[in-house]
Structures are given as C-alpha cells and as structure tokens.
Amino acid sequence: MKFAIALYSAAHTPSSRRALLFAQAALAGGHEIVRLFFYQDGVYSASNNIVAPQDEQDIAHQWREFVSQHQLDGVVCIAAALRRGVLNAEEATRYQRSAVNLEAPWALSGLGQLHDAIQGADRLICFGGP
C-alpha cells in the first residue's frame, strides 16, 4: 500500500508522535510512504530549533532521523511555514530574517505537493489536533 501522510500539528503534540509511530509501522509492515506533507502547525514539527527537555521525547529530532534514514520525501508547506516563522536559508535571506530553522531533510514547497501525493497514494492519512 502507498501512503500519503499529512501532519497538521507541532512536535510537542501527541498527534505528531502518533503520526511518526504510524509512519514507522507502515514502513515496518512493508508499505510505502509516497510523501510526508507538513501543513498548518505541522510545519513546527520540522523545525530544527526545538530544544526538548532532557526527560521528554524529542519528536522533531526523531522525525528528521526517520526521514533521513529512509530517504523519504519530507515536504513542508511554504505558505504555512512562512506565516509561522519556519524558514530555510533561502527564505530567511529573501525576507531578511535572522534565523534559519528549517534544513534538510525537509524541503519547502506548495500545496500542489499535497495534491500530488494524494493522487499517487492509495491512502491519505492526516494527523493533527491533540
């Protein structure tokens, strides 16, 4: 089965962790993840500036490791990211902002990538809220 997984919530939410565990289970079950698409507050799950307390799960870090290890296509919606101050080097330069908090393996792109993933997958699974 081919999955498109869309995440709408930040790294500290239970739903971000739930999405990660679902994604891990999908690959472990022999399925394919066509794309991960982070939208709305999901863009925060791709921030590389999160400092998780020592005694808590660092979900943003785990997402990065997961995407890198499995060479997945991890896309963050550029419009949602800009509005929330999640910027890669290019956008930080373009908008003259002082901080870069989005790096590889994440790529910024538009909602077209969400639709493309939906067209290419057998299932779209969304995660968000609490």
Binding site: A6, Y8, Y39, Q40, A79, A80, R83, G110, L111, G112, L114, H115, I118, Q119, L124, C126
Partner: protein, 116 residues
C-alpha cells in the same frame, strides 16, 4: 482518472488561519484541475454568513476566496443543513444545503477526505 478529494471545513472564519488554509487546499486542487468538493460543517457554516466585516478585526475577507471557487472549477460546494439550522443561518446561495444522510453519501462518493 484523478482521485477526488472532499475538504470538510469546520472552523469559523476568524478563529485562526484554519478556515483560510482549508480553502487554500481546495483552491490549489482546483488550480490543478482536480475533482475537489467542499463541505462547510459545524462552525464552518459561519464562513457563509452574509455581511461580515473582516476589516473590523483586521483580517482578510474570505468572501473573495469563496467567490473564486467557481473560477477555479470548484462547483461542488455544500453546507450542512443541521449546522446551519443550529446556528440560525439560512441556507446560502453559494452552497448546496445537505442533510445528514446526504452528507454520509457525499463522503462515500469521494476517494479521499480532509476534515479541518
């Protein structure tokens, strides 16, 4: 054949970016000529209330985006009758009112669904 997507918009117009971001998904799909439907449900029907004044809260008027739906080829726009009645709203011209059973069948007709 393209997979169809139903976007269910449940948030009131100015409770954050959610209403606008739901519409953005719909418009992006329309721009790619994909079969997209839009259902306003629960507080989402407040987006359809007439004579709202976005400027009063320094927000963007969603009305322009709603009017753009037709231009992007999005003609399947629906509103939940139950949600409208609960909130004392009359069915708008811009969305086809649907009862609960019809909405159940509507969800069944689409390949994928996103409920925001």
């Amino acid at each position: 054949m393209s997979k169809s997507l139903l976007v269910i918009s449940r948030q009131a117009p100015w409770s954050g970016p959610s209403a606008r971001e739901a519409l953005d998904i719909v418009l992006a799909g329309g721009a790619f000529d994909l079969p997209i439907g839009l259902l306003f449900l629960d507080d989402g029907v407040f987006q359809l209330a007439p004579h709202q004044d976005a400027k009063a809260v320094q927000q963007k008027d969603l009305g322009a985006n709603l009017q753009a739906l037709g231009l992007f080829g999005i003609d399947d726009v629906f509103a939940c009758s139950h949600s409208l009645a609960e909130r004392g709203l009359t069915p708008p011209a811009s969305a086809q009112p649907l009862g609960n059973e019809d909405i159940c069948r509507l969800i069944d007709r689409y390949d994928q669904v996103i409920t925001l």
